[in-house]
Amino acid sequence: MVSLAEDVAIVAFEQTPSHARFNDSEQAMIMPCVNSVIEQVGMDRHDIDFTIAGSCDYLSGMPFAFVMNIDAVGAWPPVYESHVEMDGAWALFEGFVRLQSGDIDTVLVSGSGKCSPGSYREAFSLQTDPYVHAPLGLDPRTQAGFQAQALIAAGKATERDFAEVVVRSHANAKNNPYAQLSGDLSVDELLAEPYVQQPLRRLDCPPTSDGAAAMVIARADKARELCDNPVWIRGIDHRIESHHPTLRDLTDSPSVRIAAERVGLHDGPVDVAELTVTYSPEEIVLRDSLSLNGDTDVNLSGGPLTGSPFMAVGLTRVIELARSIRNGRGRRGVAHASSGPALQQNLLCVLEGDS
């Protein structure tokens, strides 16, 4: 486990509902989240030391789209800020790292994305290497299908297991006002549906979603000053794997295993896990690689299968975990974010409630 110079806590968080289509700008989704977290900590926004956002130009369909998002954060007088072309969870990573230097106290983190204006499958197929994979149209759903097939071939899962993940996710989402999809499904009915990408069916895949999320994190003394129930970030780490699916064992996630070690995941109880399960088979891989047993509640929010605003969805997992801890569903847990096809890149963040 990595030793940390500074204790850092989440002191405020907010998210939009996962919208099937948000009929306004990306900034209009971010701004209420930012305004809410600023109000929760009772600070003047000019007193926030550092701001960092995560978003993706390609989802917005425009180079430099992220520049307009600063309208939602505020940049006058000038601010100290940065941007990652990644999910907001990686903005949280950089914000957390920045606080470890000990010379600033507070960071405003956000993540946002709108999938509804375009075809996210087409956009995400451009994530693959441009010489071999992209011309084949090897989009993330295709690679998720490979992963699912690999699990079945290895005897690690069945289509029924995938359906059970979907049923549980949709049932959990009934308690989540931010979820886009929820309800009581039956495994047998799901298995009777046609494939969209064999062996995946429609609900094994995420809906098209728009959404945003924001949080304020702070160093220990400041955190206690700003908030009565800070949620402590005990560790955060992320790792990547080869881009080439043929060089990977798609039924395992060595990157998750390394990250779990680095954040000291099993140095304490793991009561709750919020995982970026974009395709249902990923939950099987993640549970195994995280060595989760029956003591851990997984995706109490319903997870991305019930609302998947890319670029906010990973940061939203951290928020959902923080909410579960504040609501007493557990004392300690792990949030997971992912990037790239078939869980190529993974981030883990361990949170713990205030003692």
Partner: protein, 385 residues
């Protein structure tokens, strides 16, 4: 806890060129990265984390390219993340990498930035993805005219910068443009692109990558390589448009340099800093940044250019490497400014070395002159000022 000291221990650059057709994106970044590792006496095994930056993905049409470049960058099993802050990104990426070292969480960090502009249409992308857009020159030209009106600078200042940077580039083997017969007359007679900017007062469109290996004080000591200590860094952002905005001397740029100097204890930048690599994509930005970053008093930056102070051998050399006017792989250009500043204080700048340079700054700006990222490097961790 105080930030952990961080030093540049290795530098790598590709040859910058209109087209590097012989290389894939993987090959391009790897050329720079392998040179940086070799310069640091390190291998991929020594690297704890990687920070990559570039301008919009649409320039090459590859979304989130850190994913497809993971293998070429030796990133498998490691943390890698991607910074994007418009034209300032190369410098912001370097600063993000410094943050990783300063945090104490990572001992040795590789940072890389690139652009392969021949794979796309930069002017289209720089116009926000709109066809028939004005491009970067069209955005900046009115502000440059405003600077000239305010400062009453004579029109030959822009031509002088264009010549000086191209002459400097002749000493830099990596520079894209090598124009041995450049002259004031040639610049003046080249086609007018955006009044007052002539063709030869504008940056080229380049393919290229730049990389650095950064390490903490322990790593620096063990490496035995000359360190360039990052003694200060700063970033500032402001809105691109609003009534009353000063686009000639944006407040974010002024405040960015104020923070940079304050953190390093600099009270008189003109005297205490030995040289600077400033992001000058269009000739007039040299005097504008000399003023906008408080190196010259307001209205007097052009006099430094006119007096030859900013030449190699002058009292405050600027863009000794040839600058953005000689090589511009957009996403890498800011990182090149940072690593060229580091190269000066390491004493490794070869033919364009400023003798005895101890303190240097690297700078980049982006968007509608609204994003600023700057760092200050020194041959000593605690230099006497």
């Amino acid at each position: 806890m105080a930030p952990r000291p961080c030093a540049v221990l290795g530098i790598g650059q590709t040859k910058y060129k209109r087209r590097r057709d012989e290389l894939t994106l993987d090959g391009l970044v790897r050329e720079a990265v392998l040179r940086a590792l070799e310069d640091a006496g390190a291998t991929f095994e020594d690297i704890d984390a990687i920070v990559i930056g570039k301008a919009p993905d649409a320039l090459e049409g590859v979304m989130m390219p850190l994913l497809s470049l993971a293998d070429a960058l030796g990133a498998v099993g490691k943390p890698i993340h991607r910074v994007h802050t418009a034209g300032s990104v190369g410098a912001s990426t370097a600063i993000s990498a410094v943050n990783l070292v300063e945090s104490g969480m990572y001992d040795t960090v590789l940072t890389v930035a690139y652009e392969k502009q021949s794979e796309g249409n930069a002017t289209w992308a720089l116009s926000g993805g709109k066809s028939g857009g004005q491009g970067a020159g069209g955005t900046f030209a009115p502000w440059i005219r405003n600077y000239i009106a305010r400062s009453k600078a004579p029109e030959h200042i822009g031509w002088m910068v264009a010549v000086k940077d191209r002459l400097n580039a002749l000493k830099n083997e990596y520079a894209h443009l090598h124009l041995p017969d450049i002259s004031i007359e040639k610049v003046r007679e080249s086609p007018m692109l955006w009044d007052p900017l002539h063709f030869l007062e504008s940056c080229p469109s380049s393919d290229g990558a730049a990389a650095m290996v950064l390490g903490n004080d322990d790593v620096a000591r063990k490496s035995g390589r000359p360190p360039a200590w990052v003694i200060s860094h700063a970033k500032r952002t402001e809105f691109g448009q609003f009534p009353g905005r000063d686009t000639v001397r944006p407040r974010a740029g002024v405040e960015c340099s104020e923070v940079l100097y304050r953190k390093a204890g600099i009270t008189n930048p003109r005297e205490q800093i030995d040289c600077a690599e400033l992001y000058v994509p269009f000739s007039w930005y040299e005097p504008m940044w000399l003023e906008g970053h408080l190196i010259a008093p307001e209205g007097e930056g052009w006099k430094m250019t006119d007096d030859g102070d900013t030449e190699l051998g002058g009292s405050f050399p600027v863009n000794m490497s040839g600058g953005v006017l000689s090589s511009n792989p957009i996403g890498a250009s800011g990182m090149i400014r940072c690593l060229e500043a580091a190269s000066q204080v390491r004493g490794t700048a070869g033919e364009y070395q400023v003798p005895g340079a101890r303190i240097a700054i690297g700078h980049a700006y982006g968007g509608a002159a609204q994003y600023y990222a700057m760092w200050m490097v020194s041959s000593e961790l605690n230099p006497e000022l």
